[in-house]
């Protein structure tokens, strides 16, 4: 096997998407990744399983790994896991429901293995009252503000609904995990010293919306009242219905006609005019004089102004319905406006764009043929990475354990 991590042994102690994804990225780069699974198998094997202990979720996140079943709640199992970690270059620890035993902490492992890079993936950071709380993606998107900010609700218009397109806290943290691992490996290659790196799912969720959280007196002048009022309402113990109603009254009314999806005659198309220059082009393509934010007299607090802008936007909506998605993409592309068809993820498996860029590929698994999403980064030093499917439970236990017993 060849790849950037081909000399590395990774021991993965994970029970979540983040740790599995981090391990998979290492395996895709040809590291030997040994996933330690409890006797019943990794929890991901039991999410919507199609066969006992086999699931799509697991198979999409555990390519190219070795599966070793060991129970570290038993002292014999714990000893063997520890022995494996003593041979590792990298340990990935990600246990969102309960802490690992202290024998598997960095503090203990570094005594035998000073070159070890130990990645700690946690939820709420290492400090504070929430540090040891059980967590998952729903918890993170609620706690960090992403869910309310997204604004989806139940039919009552108040009860918040979850973000469902992706488990952002899990996946984005996996990329931070790799940034940590490879930075520490680079440091080790330069100095010979290993170390512990930690990353937090909560900080991921805050980082991807940081401009809404950090403060800046000059920039915040228009929103400071809004922010302070929320704190007052919280202190009063106001209900969410009351908070939403008050925020609704004071929230700025926005006209955003040039960076949004529209329905067409046979589907939906995205109009992506994010900058002023692009909005000028989009006005031509959409046959509108609506200025929106480019209007020097932009004033959505004025009812007449706002209603007029809404009417112009409704005209654009009607105009878009006159032609097909394909026709609109042609028109917008010719005008230089960013665009694309709104597509369901299940319809992408035969996309020419994805196939030509090698973003998806077929793999053979014991259950049959699978189409997988390929790694996010393509390295010219290894143009054809060898990517293999996920292991069955415990496939590699005997072989890997006989190796350490023979040492």
């Amino acid at each position: 096997m060849s790849g950037i991590f081909s000399e590395l042994r990774v021991i993965e102690l994970s029970a979540d998407v983040t740790g599995s994804m981090a391990g998979q990225i290492c395996a895709d780069r040809a590291a030997e990744v040994i996933k330690i699974e409890p006797p019943g198998g990794d929890v991901l094997r039991h999410v919507d399983s199609y066969d006992s202990g086999e699931s799509k979720l697991y198979e999409s996140l555990n390519r190219g790994k070795q599966s070793v079943v060991l129970d570290y709640d038993q002292s014999d199992g714990l000893k063997l896991v520890k022995a494996l970690c003593d041979t590792a270059d990298v340990v990935i620890a990600s246990q969102p429901k309960r802490p690992l035993p202290s024998e598997l902490s960095y503090e203990t492992l570094k005594i035998q293995n000073s070159k070890l890079v130990y990645l700690d993936i946690n939820a709420f950071g290492r400090n504070g009252n929430w540090a040891d709380s059980a967590s998952n993606d729903l918890v993170m998107q609620a706690y960090a503000g992403n869910m309310l900010s997204e604004g989806k609700t139940e039919p009552d218009q108040i009860t918040p609904r979850a973000i469902v397109s992706t488990q952002m806290s899990e996946y984005v943290t996996a990329f931070y995990a790799l940034l940590g691992i490879s930075s520490a490996l680079y440091h080790r290659a330069r100095t010979g010293v290993g170390q512990e790196v930690s990353t937090s799912k909560l900080l991921t969720m805050l980082s991807i919306q940081s401009a809404r959280i950090v403060t800046n007196d000059l920039a915040d002048k228009k929103v400071i009242g809004f922010r302070n009022r929320l704190l007052e309402l919280r202190t009063e113990g106001a209900s969410l219905a009351k908070i939403k109603s008050e925020r609704g009254k004071t929230a700025p009314r926005v006209i955003n006609a040039f960076y949004r999806p529209y329905q067409t005659r046979d589907g939906a198309v995205f109009v992506g005019a994010l900058t002023r220059n692009l909005r000028d082009k989009a006005r031509g393509a959409l046959n509108t004089t609506l200025l929106g934010r480019d209007d020097p007299n932009y004033d959505t607090r004025n009812d007449e102004y706002y209603d007029n802008a809404l009417r112009q936007q409704a005209e654009i909506e009607a105009y878009l319905k006159e032609k097909t998605t394909e026709e609109w993409i042609g028109i917008l592309e010719a005008s230089g406006v960013p665009t694309g068809e709104i597509t369901f993820p299940e319809d992408l498996y035969n996309s020419e764009q994805l196939l030509e860029n090698s973003y998806i590929a077929e793999l053979d698994h014991t259950s049959g043929r699978q189409i997988h999403v390929m790694p996010h980064a393509q390295f010219s030093a290894f143009p054809d990475p060898e990517i293999t499917a996920a292991p069955s439970l415990g496939r590699d236990t005997t072989r890997i354990l006989s190796e350490i017993e023979n040492d």
Binding site: K56, L148, F175, V197, T343, P345, Q353, Q370, I371
Partner: protein
């Protein structure tokens, strides 16, 4: 202790969110990052600017960098880039695939000047395929990658799809992915002496946020394919987007159950996020529910929760280690106890706009320190210094300004 990337020099050609966010992570890790901007600045400086060429979102994506203005369509500007390259380890670039060659800053040209250069290229849709030359932003990538349709937000009344608005997830995640590609390539260079080109794209990242959803699986997909067929049939019959989303959502039972969703409380809302057999049993016990509760029982549970404060409910749930959290707005997170306990926000002073808070990089190292970053640079702050270091005289620099090579 210094950052793991101390001594690494990065030249960043970037705008908007993705590559700036990636470059900022590298600066936090100790790299020296020089950002090249057009003479009138990265267009993101103008997005809701509160001072000329200064916006809050720009300042959250470009801290710790230096700023050099260059008009890259001029030969003199291209020569300046070529003169800088011998001291550069890493080039970060996010232009359309045809642009770098036009500016003579493509990988072939630059790696001929410095053989072991690491060149990380981020495009919107990949360098190949029918969409490769389309301009693209986060929204367009959400549209074509499946994220937007899977999120399933629809505009009240009119019914068109809506953009995921809580965060530009493809952009932010691509920034982390790009930074991760850099540190992995640095590790490879340290081990082998080789530089290389790494290709990333917003589209590839967006696909990697949806691994199990895009995956095609012979044995597991029967139910999903039936839903897909029904949706495609209704689409051909002219159904509106909202109906297509509903067909898809009805098939996922995750959204409407009682142990993985949000609930209104007396003073806000909480999520209950039980995802294991044990946690679900604990929820049923806590709220006196049978194994298969009817709507009346679930309504009683909702009523019980809405009569209590969020804190009281959280205490009950956390006692049984059921994953749970309050539902928050982002603009109250600067006072959150986990944020404060982990010291994730810090203060700094911007050269021209004064004090602000910023959020730390989502990594903590035991043997390396993160750099204490400076604020984002005013436009072109470092132009004169960089040119002087290349031995250009005051007169030559003035002539460059006159000719619009720099600003």
């Amino acid at each position: 202790m210094a950052g793991p990337l101390t001594g690494v020099n990065v030249l960043e050609f970037s705008q908007v969110i993705a590559a700036p966010f990636g470059g900022q992570a590298l600066a936090d890790l100790g790299a020296s990052v020089l950002k090249v901007e057009p003479p009138d600045g990265d267009s993101w400086r103008l997005q809701l600017q509160f001072r000329p060429t200064e916006s809050k979102t720009f300042q959250c994506l470009n801290r710790g960098k230096d700023s050099l203005t260059l008009s890259l369509n001029q030969a003199a500007a291209q020569k300046i880039v070529h003169q800088l390259i011998p001291e550069i380890d890493v080039v970060l670039i996010n232009y359309r695939p045809d642009v770098p060659e036009k500016f003579n800053i493509d990988y072939q040209t630059l790696s001929a000047i410095k053989q072991d250069l690491i060149y990380v290229d981020l495009t919107a849709f990949g360098r190949k395929g029918p969409w490769s030359l389309r301009p693209g932003y986060d929204g367009a990538v959400q549209a074509v990658s499946g994220l937007m349709a899977a999120e399933g937000k629809t505009k009240p009344g009119e019914g068109s799809p809506m953009t995921i608005s809580s965060t530009a997830v493809a952009d932010f995640c691509s920034g982390v992915a790009m930074a991760e590609a850099v540190t992995t390539a640095l590790y490879h260079r340290q081990m082998t002496g080789e530089g290389q080109m790494v290709e990333c794209s917003l589209l590839s990242t967006a696909l990697n946020l949806q691994l199990p959803i895009i995956m095609e699986h012979q044995k597991a997909d029967a139910k999903r394919n039936a839903t897909r067929e029904q949706r495609l049939k209704r689409s051909r019959e002219g159904a509106q987007f909202r109906e297509l989303v509903e067909i898809r959502q009805q098939a996922s039972d995750v959204e409407n159950n009682y142990f993985y969703r949000s609930f209104l409380t007396k003073d806000g809302a909480v999520v209950i996020a039980a995802d294991s057999v044990e946690e679900k049993a604990a929820v049923r016990k806590l709220f006196d529910l049978s194994n298969d509760p009817d709507n009346q029982a679930i309504d009683a549970m909702k009523a019980a929760i809405s009569s209590k404060s969020s804190d009281a409910i959280l205490d009950d749930l956390r006692q049984f280690r059921i994953p749970t959290a309050p539902v928050r707005y982002p603009d109250e997170m600067n006072r959150d106890e986990a944020v404060l306990a982990n010291e994730w926000l810090f203060e700094l002073e911007h050269d021209t706009t004064g004090p602000q808070t910023q959020m730390r990089l989502n990594l903590e190292f035991s043997e390396s320190a993160l750099t204490e970053p400076s604020a984002s640079p005013p436009l072109g702050r470092d132009t004169a210094r960089v040119l002087k270091n290349l031995d250009y005289s005051e007169e030559a620099i003035a002539a460059f300004r006159e000719a619009g090579v720099v600003s």
